[in-house]
Amino acid sequence: MKAVGARLPRYDGIGHVTGRTSYVDDVRVPGLLQAKVLRSPHHHASITHLDTSRAEKLRGVRAVITHKDVPRNEVGLLEPQGFPADEPQLARDVVRYRGQPIVAVAAEDVDTAIEALELIDIQYEERPALFDMRLACEPDAPQAHEWGNVYPHFGPYNHRRVRKGDIEWAFERADTIVSGVYRPQAIEHVPLETQAALAIPEPDGRLTIYSCTQAMYYTLSIVATHLQLPMNRIKVIGGTVGGGFGGKVDSASDIVAALLALKSQRPVKWRWTREEEFLASSTRAAWHIELSDAVSSDGWILGRRMTTLHDAGAYARMSPYGLTKHAFHHTGAYTIPNLKFDGFAVFTNRVPTTAMRGFGVTSVSEATEIHMTRVAEVLGLSPWEIRLKNANRIGDTTGNLVAMQDPSTVRVTLAAAERIGLELAPGFRNMTGDRRSGDLLPEHLVAQQAPEGVHVLSRDATANGGGS
């Protein structure tokens, strides 16, 4: 029997549904301490006074840590990709979102740890907070981030750009220009297993971390960098996750548990409560997308102008990555020869946002597909046929001039039409994803076409992409 193509059940399905799968919280070790973390009650504030001495003296408390105890407090999730670090593991003199960790405590039991948090003497001076990313550049806007309210590190730019063809030509030539605003919302990951880590200092000096991470090696690297330890001093145990959806990539719980374990020389578990998971864990970002399509009356999309604001929340985390992916896919499953895209990652005083299923592209699909149906309506055309007409075909290029090798826009669209018994006009019914020719290769699409065998088209080839 061939295994590939077989409808084999998941190896772990029975364990999951009978409660026999072991997650981080199920691991039992002797001498375990419980961790709790003091989180900012304010959206934005200066920390003017911090004294943990009374908490440290509480009976049953084995370790208290602040930013001073983190060998390297700021580690960027995208540092290997060249994006600088901005987020402290434990806040130093300012908190930028409600729920930000400031002090962590390890104690013999949860109640003692909570009591210790109440003994921490901390004073804040509240600062104005920014929530509406559209207002980030207003003259009186609160400053959410030390870098300003707009992420500044896309080379010389403060935005991720795509430029293709001749956008001015497209908007001049257009019979109609359709504009819309799309606002995909922030949502929670809602895993059944909340963020959790168990760190064990081993007798040989190594550190074992049971982690709920979606990426063991990534977590190993992030933890080792915070702790300034070589990779062989840490063993990450994981591989099974009680719901991730992108929310368990950032190593939200591993580092604090590791630091407390090293300081107390006892095993430490940090398991977030349901309330912490909802209120302090990262979310999918909210997006604000302004989209204008230059179209001809017979349904060709000649050009697209798009401005995207991505709500990064209080720190950058994965935002530059997600925004770049968003930029690369902002034409959806269609070919548009002339493009001007600007994407801004905007800092606000919300919980930092991060990856979630479809990261960067879910918002594109939502905005551009709603817009596509609107454009069809404005032009009085079939929403199916306008999609098929502009569909990606072999040799068409994306915004960054990557050539389509075998796109399936036409294939899946026709299959959907057939499934609902929709009768398309003859020219559409038999369409394929093959190279453009004849009526489907109008003058304005010629320059963006890549020759056979070419995977990325040279920029010079489309300098006058309007084809006029």
Partner: protein, 365 residues
């Protein structure tokens, strides 16, 4: 007061692997003395079934029964680098890593079998755990015998390692152009949504979702359907239910427990009609592409189009909650027309809400 039926659809694409690449997955495989197969890879299974899929790929690449293969993905000591389970990269990139490793194990098995059987390795194949001379299958040996000979006669641990890595695509900050393809493959999907809209309550019910997915090759159709159906529910959450900040942009009134945050539940389960198309990729394992992340991307725009089809209004601030749908029905907003411009949603635009017409965001060179 009436209920209105509507239908909408959307077509989407989604890339496989991390944007810009540079994200390795590595694996290594060893044989036990009875020929059973141990796979070590760092691919975390977040519930999508990647461990099952990796095992299937190894079984067929090596030519052994599925239940001969065991995968260990439990820790960073025994497993090599896996960048992580995200970016829809598990089956394609993690799967290629175990496939390459299995190819090497297969080469070593055939090399030792060649010695034992005195037949050129090019004339041997492995089928269901047996080494068969091509054209003379009766002269077969079992893989168990070969692994035993390797261990106790030749003194060799039959093993192999593999790395899947597509080189980093450099991006021009000026125009977004790239040096190489910034993905491994692209998957496609179309979704048709049927809804019922209550014009008195604003409530929207998704009654049916038809989903078409080109996943290249379905290594495990059961698990692909699991992704489609789980994604469909998350798509309904995005389209109709979920919101961290119910009074956005206010940061207050966040749901802090299951009772105050509207995640989709079985109550929302519509009729699901799933269609898997197989248009194989050039270099994924057995032609696979990806399904993971894209599975919640097509439903929200299909649902919004269906609401428009039902009651003639556009809701472009997601989710389309009953309140937003009712407000849209009452407002009956039409786009502003100015020459050849047709302008929707003007009240939401940066141009409208900022003091300078949104210059900081809109006036880029």
């Amino acid at each position: 007061m009436a209920k209105h039926q509507g239908r909408g659809f959307a077509t989407i694409e989604y890339p496989t692997g991390m944007n810009q690449n540079g994200d390795p997955s590595q694996a290594w495989i060893k044989l036990k003395p009875d020929g059973r197969v141990d796979v070590f890879a760092g691919t975390v299974d977040i519930g999508q079934g990647s461990k099952t899929v990796h095992t299937q790929i190894v079984a067929d690449t090596l030519g052994v029964p599925y239940d001969w293969v065991t995968m260990d993905n439990t820790n960073t000591d025994s497993s090599a680098v896996c960048t992580g389970t995200f970016a829809s990269r598990g089956t394609f990139i993690g799967g290629n890593a175990v496939r390459y490793a299995a190819d090497r194990v297969r080469e070593r098995v055939l090399a030792i079998a060649s010695e034992e059987m005195e037949i050129d390795p090019a004339d041997l194949e492995i089928v269901e755990g047996e080494i068969l001379p091509k054209g003379a299958p009766s002269k077969k040996m079992s893989l168990s015998e070969i692994a035993d000979a390797a261990t106790y006669k030749y003194g060799e641990l039959i093993s192999g390692q593999g790395t899947a890595l597509k080189p980093l695509a450099e991006v021009s900050d000026h125009d977004g152009s790239v040096t190489v393809e910034p993905h491994s493959a692209i998957s496609y999907a179309a979704c048709v949504a049927d809804v019922t809209v209550d014009d008195e309550t604003g409530d929207v019910e998704v009654t049916r979702l038809i989903s078409i997915y080109d996943v290249g090759r379905a290594i495990n159709p059961l698990l692909v359907e699991g992704q489609i159906e789980g994604g469909a529910m998350m798509g309904i959450g995005l389209g109709l239910l979920e919101e961290c900040y119910p009074h956005y942009p206010s940061a207050e009134h966040r749901g802090e427990q299951f009772g105050s945050y509207l995640a989709p539940a079985l109550e929302q389960l519509p009729d699901l009609d799933n269609v898997i198309l197989e248009n194989p990729s050039a270099d994924g394992p057995f032609g696979a592409k990806a399904i993971g992340e894209m599975a919640n991307n097509a439903q929200p725009p299909a649902i919004i189009a269906a609401i428009h089809d039902a009651v003639g209004v556009w809701v472009t601030q997601l989710p389309a909650s009953p309140e937003r749908v009712l407000r849209a029905i009452r407002a009956k907003a039409a786009p502003r027309r100015d020459g050849k411009h047709v302008i929707f949603d003007e009240e939401l635009s940066i141009r409208t809400v900022t003091s300078d017409g949104g210059a900081a965001f809109l006036n880029t060179p």
